[in-house]
């Protein structure tokens, strides 16, 4: 459950956001017209409502698309600064969630293209709200983490546009049409990017027999 406090905006604090899962996208509901109007007018209380509703989802989308990065805070900040500064141009044709996701995708793409990516420092740890599966043995957890790290390393070698389209489609489960809208590309180009990303990923996995074995063993039980 998402809890949003109603304490007034102080200019320096945001309300507590309590969402144990945190990763779930906000429910697709019609945006409150009063909030939209308030955001357009730059009203702090409306912007606060918008921020609290979407910040976790924005964090997740960016983290998924870029992989582990110590620049997550900057990227989320850039996304919201752009959103707050662009409300005047928001025409209401898409939901606010779609609109801010598009900005987040653009921000992530820009980061991936810039090549200014840094190693993840040790202090960057997973969300404490999301405990590891207690039924999974420790060595299995370590294996899963290692596999994820290696897959992210492979994704780093795929061109940003292809990588982003692939992840939005397969991991975030957006449709082709939605991916095309989020990345401002045609449907044909989007399909092509997803397909080529898959092909490149497969080729890289094939070139690393130990990784392929790791992937196959991790998914052998229930892939169908």
């Amino acid at each position: 459950m998402r809890l949003i406090s109603t304490k007034p905006v102080s200019g320096g604090t945001i309300p507590d956001v309590e969402d144990p899962r945190g990763a779930m996208p906000p429910a697709v509901t019609a945006d409150d017209p009063a909030m939209v109007a308030g955001c357009r007018a730059g009203e702090a209380s409306s912007l606060e409502q918008f921020f609290v509703t979407h910040v976790r989802y924005v964090e997740r989308v960016i983290a998924r698309l870029t992989g582990p990065t110590p620049d997550l805070e900057d990227l989320v900040q850039t996304t919201f600064i752009q959103a707050f500064q662009s409300f005047g141009r928001y025409r209401g044709e898409a939901s606010l969630k779609t609109w801010v996701t598009r900005i987040a995708v653009h921000t992530a793409l820009h980061q991936l293209r810039s090549g200014l990516r840094r190693a993840v420092p040790l202090e960057l740890v997973a969300d404490a709200d999301e405990p590891s599966d207690p039924t999974e043995a420790a060595d299995q957890q370590a294996e899963s983490r290692q596999l994820a790290r290696r897959l992210h390393a492979l994704l780093d070698r795929i061109a940003p546009k292809k990588r982003v389209a692939f992840l939005l489609y397969t991991v975030e489960e957006y449709s082709i049409e939605e991916v095309a809208a989020l990345t401002e590309a045609s449907k044909a180009a989007t399909k092509s990017r997803i397909w080529f990303a898959r092909r490149e990923l497969m080729a890289m996995v094939k070139g690393q027999p130990d990784l392929r074995q790791l992937i196959e063993s991790s998914g052998a039980q229930s892939w169908r």
Binding site: L72, F80, F87, A119, D127, L167, I215
Partner: protein, 394 residues
């Protein structure tokens, strides 16, 4: 009709992403049962997707989220306020009030010469320039009043004060100027190497460098080209003569196509160049006003050790400041604060953020940042200034 391997591959991807219908999944199953190659690839696609989906996603801490909120709120766009026409009596009243204010302002700012306030200072008019030469003794400095500015001369300092232009020429020694900001009012200190234009500040200039203690100053080359802004706590040293001569030499004929606009300049790394040298080159590039070159020079230093990386990030932030890209500067200074806590760069960056916020219409946010600075650095280099600003902003 039998499904081809290409179609199976696309359907495999759709299935992994949760986009395939039940009928399509059954069709895919039938193909996979008969095709070992597609079956193996599908296993990899599904496992890869599942692993990525299940992998831990880092999220921001509540404190980081607070920072993001504050930063975004401080830079929100405000809808233009509706203009209400003034009624003519009110407009006339406003005009009268403005005229009165202007009269008071002119009175306060009537050109004044100078006054020797304290210390060992002698004055001599210079007919050739229309100014006054002020010179402090070799052993003791002194304090002078130059229009509405206070000037502290170090020992063995000579300045030429031109009150008609509100310009001080520093001829030798070092000078500290303390001046409140009055919009539209000009005041500058010139040296042969550079010019310091006052934006409301306290700063010290010698023949080669300038250090800002409060507020900020604008640095210019002797021919008036802007070098950049220097905010409180920051110092700038003019490049040495050799570098200056090189920088001011006529450009050599281009041997390559110039970089397209927006592309970072190509800056060749000298063979065996160490990080310190590269930082120095970046500083000099910044001093020449070439922010993009400075950024390009420091970017490769980000992954290096803490000291080098902190300085590189600080220069990076400063480069945006010099381009007047204040939002970008704040973001980069915030990185310095977050990534290098406990370093002098983080301290300077925190104060720089507060100044930028304060000077760009965000007094509430600036207050929070100043308070944060004082909490972290109660005896810091800018603690006095931060406390004073906080007091002013209340």
């Amino acid at each position: 009709m039998a499904m081809s391997c290409g179609q199976a591959g696309r359907l495999s991807l759709a299935s992994a992403g949760g986009h395939a219908s039940e009928a399509e999944r059954l069709e895919l199953e039938a193909h996979l049962a008969a095709c070992a190659r597609c079956s193996a690839e599908h296993a990899v696609v599904v496992s890869t997707t599942r692993t990525l989906r299940a992998s831990e996603v880092p999220t921001l801490s509540p404190a980081a989220r607070q920072r993001v909120w504050r930063a975004a709120l401080s830079r929100r766009a405000h809808a233009p306020a509706a203009r209400r026409p003034l009624g003519w009596p009110l407009a006339m009243g406003a005009a009268v009030a403005m005229a009165a204010a202007a009269a008071i302002w002119i009175g306060v700012r009537a050109p004044s010469q100078y006054a020797i306030v304290a210390g060992d200072v002698t004055a001599a008019p210079q007919a050739s320039t229309g100014g006054t030469s002020l010179r402090s003794g070799a052993a003791h400095g002194g304090v002078v009043k130059l229009a509405d500015a206070s000037g502290t001369l170090s020992p063995a300092t000579e300045i030429l004060w031109r009150h008609d232009r509100r310009v001080v020429e520093l001829r030798q020694g070092a000078l500290t100027i303390d001046l409140d900001h009055h919009p539209g009012q000009h005041f500058e200190v010139r040296t042969p190497r550079f010019t310091v234009e006052v934006v409301g500040t306290k700063f010290t200039v010698d023949m080669r460098s300038v250090r800002t203690e409060r507020g900020k100053v604008r640095l210019l080359t002797p021919d008036g080209a802007e070098i950049g802004f220097l905010t409180a706590g920051l110092a700038w040293t003019a490049p040495d003569d050799a570098t200056r001569a090189q920088a001011s030499a006529p450009p050599a004929p281009p041997t390559e196509e110039p970089a397209p606009p927006g592309e970072p300049p190509v800056v060749a790394a000298a063979p065996g160049e160490d990080a310190g040298v590269r930082l120095g080159r970046a500083r000099r590039a910044l001093a020449r006003g070439n922010a993009r070159e400075a950024r390009h020079l420091v970017e490769p230093l980000f992954p290096l050790g803490r000291d080098v990386a902190a300085e590189a990030r600080a220069i990076y932030a400063e480069s945006f400041l010099s381009e007047r890209r204040y939002d970008d500067a704040i973001i980069r200074y915030s990185q310095v604060v977050r990534l290098f806590p406990g370093t002098p760069q983080a301290e300077s960056a925190t104060f720089a953020i507060a100044q930028l916020e304060s000077e760009h219409g965000q007094p509430a946010v600036a207050r929070a940042t100043l308070q944060e600075y004082l909490n972290r650095y109660p005896h810091g280099r800018f603690a006095k200034e931060a406390a004073a600003r906080l007091q002013q902003n209340r």
